[in-house]
Symmetry: C2
Subunit: 187 residues, 2 copies
DNA sequence: CGCGCGATTGAGTAATTTCAAATCTAGTGG
DNA sequence: CCACTAGATTTGAAATTACTCAATCGCGCG
């Protein structure tokens, strides 16, 4: 009854026990240790991950080996290389544990089967995709219009726990500035 | 039979004439002239727009009155201030005609009625939302990792007609650099 | 105690911005 | 057909900002 996935989905659509049983049967529980890779750049992306517990970073590594944080994923978040997952191509980025992490994994075929078995779940995924789009777009606007200091403050306001859980250098990589520049901001 | 909306939707889900009749009945055709506003910052956002013909820019204006282009919308694109539309709040950005433009407008209540009347349309909107999310995320990655020259080249490669249809200063505002800087790139 | 990781600080360099002026171009009216 | 004008683009130069590279500091842990 206190299943995190069920609570998460029921924030958007109500479920009977039977329906949740169907949903549940498509997900594979997995556990990873800090520094392990869930998605590896250059490899196929098998799963979309729902985070039960822990913290992940989605990282793009450029030609000069510099790491750029595309996003973090904590409890109740979905994360993967969505482009590669959905189109079944090789990953362009990596999904890596920042902490020991428990997830539920859903492969694309099972996702489609789930949607066939329980069409109303599509409403849920639509909401998730839509919200993901809105928040990505707002991040774009924020990057274009807002100074680094304010962006940093927005991040710690929006995800207060993040500052406790990751080194500031990762936040810098998320904001798109060097760790030195972030360090020099008078906060 | 050559209805742009029908062709657009049928790229994702097949439709009977009757089904398309239902869909069609929820949309309101509208026409706008260059420089007119479809969405005005600070005002409620009534519609989501499907562009039949023409070109729109989605603009965020910052405190210093500088314009930032969140996105363009040309034929077969959907555009609005999605955040404000979906949550029925005031617009944070404006949607403005770059050319005379014909659209089909869908208000949120009609959107919900349409989804009830024809649930399979949700598959279509899910695909759109998902692709919108992916492309927004890729724009974030591109901004973080790629130099301006390459980003400019990517844009003209992806949307070749854009360069003919908008001044370079708008592309600069889309890329997040000053028009002078864009002008100084040796292309 | 000493190692290692993260954070800070300093100095020089590179890129971008801003402000200003000059140039170019397309469309308009004479 | 030409001159004029408004908008768009380019160029110049100074100022700002962030970057890189390097050294230092701080702290927890074996």
């Amino acid at each position: 009854m206190s299943d995190p996935l069920r609570i998460h989905i029921e924030k958007i659509i109500p479920l009977t026990d039977e329906e949740f049983g169907i949903i549940s049967s498509f997900f594979i529980p997995k556990k990873y240790k800090k520094h392990q890779f869930l998605v590896q750049e250059g490899e196929p992306v098998v799963y979309n991950y729902f985070v039960i517990k822990g913290l992940l970073k989605l990282v793009y590594t450029d030609e000069t080996a510099k790491e750029h944080i595309v996003g973090f994923a904590m409890e109740d978040w979905w994360e993967t290389d969505f482009q590669a997952y959905y189109h079944q191509t090789k990953a362009a980025m990596s999904l890596v544990c920042v902490e020991d992490t428990d997830v539920l994994a859903l492969n694309l075929e099972d996702y489609r089967l789930l949607c066939t078995a329980l069409p109303k779940i599509e409403r849920f995924f639509l909401e998730k995709a839509y919200m993901g789009f809105i928040s990505a777009q707002q991040r774009i606007v924020s990057t274009m219009t807002t100074g680094i200091k304010e962006r940093y403050e927005q991040v710690i306001k929006k995800y207060p726990s993040l500052i406790q859980r990751v080194p500031k250098s990762l936040i810098a990589a998320y904001l798109g500035v060097s760790r030195e520049t972030l360090s020099r901001l008078s906060l």
